[in-house]
């Protein structure tokens, strides 16, 4: 009995007053930290130097006031952020209609992120060609 008192007392000065409530919040805090650090580590291990790579899918077309609004979705399939991403839609000339271009810029497209954009044309953008003209690598 008396032999066990000394280590007990030493432990009590360390953790005196740490109630169940405090253990619970400590546990939750540890879980949150563990999750964040885990995700960062996984990112660290998985990130190669795969540069930004953009996949563009045309979505729906909306007609308003004689203009055609083409919605599209762009995903950055690379592992790095692209900034100042310039997307162009190109309508080749057909018959009487001349060729037509429309463009928009995205400030940032982070790795694996999906963004939406709209391009405006004066005629039905069927057969439109969407491509990225340029971007800047992360600093």
């Amino acid at each position: 009995m008396s032999a066990g008192t000394a280590p007990d007392a030493a432990e009590q000065t360390q953790d005196r007053g740490r109630s169940t409530a405090e253990w619970v919040s400590l546990l939750v805090a540890a879980l949150v930290l563990g999750a964040v650090i885990g995700v960062v580590l996984v990112l660290w291990l998985s990130v190669g130097n795969r540069p930004p790579h953009f996949v563009i899918e045309p979505d729906e077309v909306r007609q308003e006031g004689g203009q055609y609004y083409l919605t599209f979705t762009m995903r950055n399939a690379g592992n790095q952020t692209g900034s100042e991403v310039l997307v162009e839609g190109f309508l080749p000339a057909t018959g009487s209609d001349g060729e037509e271009r429309s463009a928009t810029t995205f400030d940032f497209v982070p790795a694996q992120a999906t963004v939406d954009g709209v391009l405006v044309f004066s005629r039905d953008p069927a057969g439109v060609q969407l491509r990225v003209l340029s971007y800047q690598p992360p600093d």
Binding site: Q14, R16, G17, V28, A29, A30, V36, L41, Q80
Partner: protein, 311 residues
């Protein structure tokens, strides 16, 4: 946050402070932490450069930032001693308190970024975690500062240790006690605090940027969050005078009435500042005006709540 712990040899003041049960004590300590995180995190939360830097942070840099913040929290903890300067805090206690401060900072950063629509599931894991870790720095330091500095001035003073209705008599000595004058003083302090924070954010592009990303349902969520955080700061996590606020006479006596009144004043302060910087002008569509005011209303409310704590 484990500020209110029974000492091995309790003094009389400590004994009185520990009347609350362990769960209530822990809840109060956590609310302190959350309040501090919101207070100190707000200015950087409305800084788009921080969001952008978060987009392109490499995992290594995120890791480094978390580590530096943790070390800073430990230093802050050891330096301020949290409660009583003469109390010996074990190293392990400091280490775990730092962990909790960091976790609270991360949670507050994630919640507020989600509330302002600056993170969403479409953004990709790297950008989401990057933004959260960057914003968590000021939030976590806010937790440490709130616990270490603000609280030491007030209820940990043995003279105010009774924490009960009786303490109000002493506290009220320096501030107006007449209900009407007391209400005016509270309103004035709220307006002043709200104006200071709103002044810093109103002229920036973040206001229209955030407002443009918020639909009606998010604006409602923003109102709810503003009220809740303001309530927590002033009535639940009263840094300076435990119990004093609820017993103060005047318009701010009832917590919910006081919170709504304070929010109204803060929204007015936000509107004044937005008009001053011509972010809103006569003839602007009402939806734009309302969303701008509500977006600036969140930091303004935080400032207003902080202003009232100074009373």
């Amino acid at each position: 946050m484990n500020q209110r712990v029974a000492l091995p040899a309790p003094t009389s003041a400590t004994a009185v402070r520990d009347e609350r049960g362990p769960w209530a004590r822990e809840r109060d300590d956590l609310l302190h932490g959350f309040a501090g995180a919101f207070l100190f995190g707000a200015p950087l939360l409305y800084t788009m450069e921080v969001w952008w830097k978060g987009n392109s942070s490499s995992p290594g840099r995120m890791f480094l930032l978390l580590a530096i913040t943790y070390v800073a929290l430990l230093v802050l903890d050891r330096a301020t001693g949290f409660r009583d300067p003469d109390e010996k805090r074990s190293i392990s206690r400091s280490l775990t308190d730092g962990m909790e401060a960091l976790a609270i900072g991360l949670i507050v950063a994630a919640l507020s970024l989600a509330l302002l629509r600056q993170i969403s599931l479409d953004d990709g894991v790297a950008a989401i975690i990057g933004r959260i870790t960057l914003e968590a720095i000021p939030c976590s330091l806010g937790v440490g500062l709130a616990n270490g500095l603000l609280r030491n001035q007030g209820d940990d003073d043995p003279a105010n240790g009774t924490d009960g209705p009786g303490a109000e008599g002493q506290d009220g000595g320096s501030s107006p006690t007449h209900p009407m004058r007391r209400s005016l003083a509270e309103a004035g302090a709220t307006a002043l605090g709200a104006l200071i924070l709103a002044l810093a954010i109103a002229p920036t592009d973040e206001v229209p940027l955030v407002a443009s990303a918020l639909s009606e349902i998010w604006l409602l969520a923003l109102i709810a969050a503003s009220l809740l955080v303001s309530y927590i700061i002033v009535y639940e996590a009263d840094f300076v005078r435990k119990g004093g606020r609820r017993n103060a006479p005047g318009l701010f006596k009832e917590p919910w009435a006081g919170t709504i009144f304070s929010y109204t004043i803060s929204l007015a302060a936000a509107a004044v500042m937005l008009a001053f910087f011509k972010q809103i002008q006569p003839g602007d569509p009402p939806t734009q005006v309302v969303s701008y005011v509500l977006v600036l209303g969140l930091p303004a409310t935080l400032g207003g709540a902080a202003g009232r704590l100074a009373l």
